[in-house]
Amino acid sequence: MFELLAKRLIAPQVWRFTLRAPGLAAKRQAGHFLILRPTADSERIPLTIVSSDPVAGSVDIIFQVVGATTRALAAIPEGGTIHDVAGPLGHPTHIENYGTAVMIGGGVGIAPLLPIAQAFHAQGNRLLTILGGRSQEFLILEDDLKPVSDSLLIATDDGSRGQKGLVTDVLRTLLEKEKINLVMAIGPVVMMKAVAEMTRPLKIKTMVSLNPLMIDGTGMCGVCRCKVAGKTRFACVEGPEFDAHEVDFDSIRRRLGMFKAEERKRMDAGKVA
């Protein structure tokens, strides 16, 4: 059992939770995720560890309510408990000084981007950060990313904040005028694919953090398998970060929708109860 120390709504349907998990707090590095089950009957779901406080023994997660499990999680009151939390999982991000790096976060993908951007900044990289969202109210963590970014650019679908359009529109402009050594993109699959296509002809090293379905997160079930450079790779133990130019995004998108109808039934059943 893991105590929920604090919870805060940071955007519509997006929560920031602080959990008591001293073991994880001591070990976590940028890029790590955890797997949790809100209650004794819940599914296991993966969420990125956004930050940790080893002294207080706590870790933070940020999640969007999209289905039954994230809804059950959001319903836990402050001071309540989360049944199971396991981690830190996955390989931490490989951090080095590349020079100039573009950090792209789309939607709730900004949450996993934050610790990575902080680590790249600490390593001396010059960071050009691009955040994207449906509209102003869905933009998260801008205040946390600003101090680690040399410039912070924003794109919204409706133009309510920053440039009207997509993160790739901003990226295109940057690519024209800057010498860029690394691009890191985290967000919806379509966004990551679009970024990969844009940097491929320019041969700019581009990393993405994949978010396939997962169960155990330890390499046991194989549901998280992705096609990377034509090979089957398990995102939970070999990833979740991969070279964007080698990833088969269409396969990932298809597999993410695998249980949509079934998940829907459970979500609707939950509403009745």
């Binding site: 994880l24 169960i215 194989g222 089957t232």
Partner: protein, 465 residues
């Protein structure tokens, strides 16, 4: 001398067509009268060959004698000196190739039903709450860490607490038992009644269990040693699923057996929509493989409502590695065995889900390295059939997490930890056993390894070597 009784008691079981649609246990267990009659058939041999057939050398006639004398409590006590999980072994051990094959009565075609009797005693212990007497155990004041709560880790932990050590078992998942919990289905091995109860007995004996603890990530093996554990036993299993790397394997509803069975067992998808974790099975299912895992997946698919389940295996029935009883049960339940058949490709629909599979028929050629005749494709025998889902059960590999995070721990080229018969690895104070050393094997071999390691750890820590 009374004449040999060759009427082996028949294990009562659910009717095939009824059980094929429910997750209740297939075998119902011997009644006390049956157990007594079966025990009477045993010749209580002076030099019991059955014992040599059992990988952990359970003193079989010794416990059978207690059944004969109506001393079930004593039978429990006797069995437990050699085996801490009798209700589990009695259900899943491949007896026909071990103790029962070696029984003298096997020559006459009717070996004593040792597995059924072992289960009988194990079930009695659970029902009557017969707990081991720990009052005379002398504390050693030393802590041991066990990594993984499968049969190997559980056995090692049980042996060590009996010797007076403080044992902590670290398990990555939220549930204890390893394959016993996530792999072997309810209808063969009930979780609540059997697996949890045998684990609770260990807890009662003083074993401490910590779930959600992925060793190598949360704490590494060297960190456990530095934190005051005198020794670490690594029993992390071989649960890393293999794929065939054929086209279409990433289509939706093509599962690894571990994913399929984990959804069914650990995440309780066998309860249908009452489970939070979904599983799509469809009407026609193909399961690829011929071992226990493939049989379990095929029979689970049937119970989840599939109309037709094909078992696609590239060799013939004689080479199937699955337990004989399970093969027979699967046939009785109506699984369609497509033997000497090799999958070549999965074909998908627009929406990315699987729609069919293309296979080729095989014939047996020359013996290969394993001594089995090697299947070779028959020219122009390719064919296609329609499916809604597929389960790939062609085996597993070593999980890399411990090896990657334990510097100096020697592994073989396939990633398995190198350890000797006593579980000693290339590192002092680090022991390993079970599937992570042997590759995918059996419950009882994993248990045997746990026991040997416990004895070695005790010998090493008490200064005998």
């Amino acid at each position: 001398m009374s004449p040999l009784n060759l009427n082996r008691e028949k294990m009562p079981s659910q009717e095939p067509l009824v059980r094929a649609r429910n997750f209740e246990e297939v075998n119902l267990g011997l009644s006390p009268e049956q157990a007594r009659r079966e025990a009477e058939r045993c010749l209580l041999c002076k030099k019991p060959t059955c014992v040599t057939g059992c990988p952990v050398h359970i003193n079989i006639p010794h416990f059978i004698q207690a059944i004969l004398e109506n001393h079930e409590d004593e039978a429990v006590r006797r069995i437990r000196t050699d085996n801490s999980l009798p209700a589990i072994c009695g259900r899943v051990c491949p007896q026909e190739t071990q103790c029962e094959e070696a029984c003298v009565l096997n020559k006459k075609g009717a070996p004593v039903a040792i597995g059924a009797l072992e289960r009988y005693v194990g079930d009695y212990a659970i029902r009557a709450c017969v707990l081991p007497d720990m009052s005379r155990v002398v504390s050693q004041n030393k802590k041991i860490a066990v990594v993984g709560s499968g049969p190997s880790g559980l056995t090692c932990a049980g042996e060590l607490v009996k010797l007076g050590y403080q044992v902590t078992v670290f398990e990555a998942l939220h549930e204890l038992g390893g394959v016993l919990a996530y792999g072997i289905p309810e209808f063969r091995l009930p979780k609540e009644m059997i697996v949890r109860c045998e684990i609770d007995t260990l807890r009662h004996m003083g074993v401490e269990f910590i779930t959600n603890a992925v060793i190598g990530k949360l704490n590494t093996v060297p960190e456990l040693l530095a934190a005051g554990f005198a020794a670490v036993y690594v029993a992390t299993g071989a649960g890393y699923p293999s794929f065939m790397n054929i086209p279409g394997e990433d289509l939706n509803y093509v599962y690894s057996a571990n994913e399929f069975l984990t959804r069914v067992n650990l995440m309780q998808a066998f309860k249908g929509e009452a489970s939070a974790t979904p599983l799509v099975v469809g009407k026609r299912v193909a399961v690829i493989g011929g071992g226990n895992t493939a049989l379990d997946a095929a029979r689970s698919a049937l119970r989840l409502g599939a109309e037709k389940v094909f078992l696609v295996y590239r060799r013939s029935e004689a080479e199937m590695p699955g337990r004989l009883e399970e093969i027979h049960h699967a046939q009785e339940e109506g699984i369609d065995f497509q033997l000497l058949t090799l999958p070549l490709e999965y074909l998908g629909k627009e929406d990315g889900s699987v729609r069919a599979m293309r296979c080729v028929r095989m014939e047996l050629g020359e013996p290969d390295a394993s001594g089995r005749r090697k299947p070779v494709p028959i020219a122009d025998s390719e064919f296609e059939f329609q499916i809604d889902s597929a389960v790939v059960a062609i085996g597993t590999q070593a999980n890399p997490i411990i090896a990657q995070t334990t510097p100096g721990l020697q592994t073989n080229p396939r990633g398995y930890i190198v350890a000797n018969e006593s579980g000693e690895t290339s590192l002092p104070r680090v022991y390993a056993g079970g599937d992570i050393v042997s590759g995918a094997a059996t419950v009882i071999l994993a248990m045997g390894a746990g026991r040997h390691a416990a004895q070695k750890i005790h010998a090493a820590l008490s200064g005998e070597i």
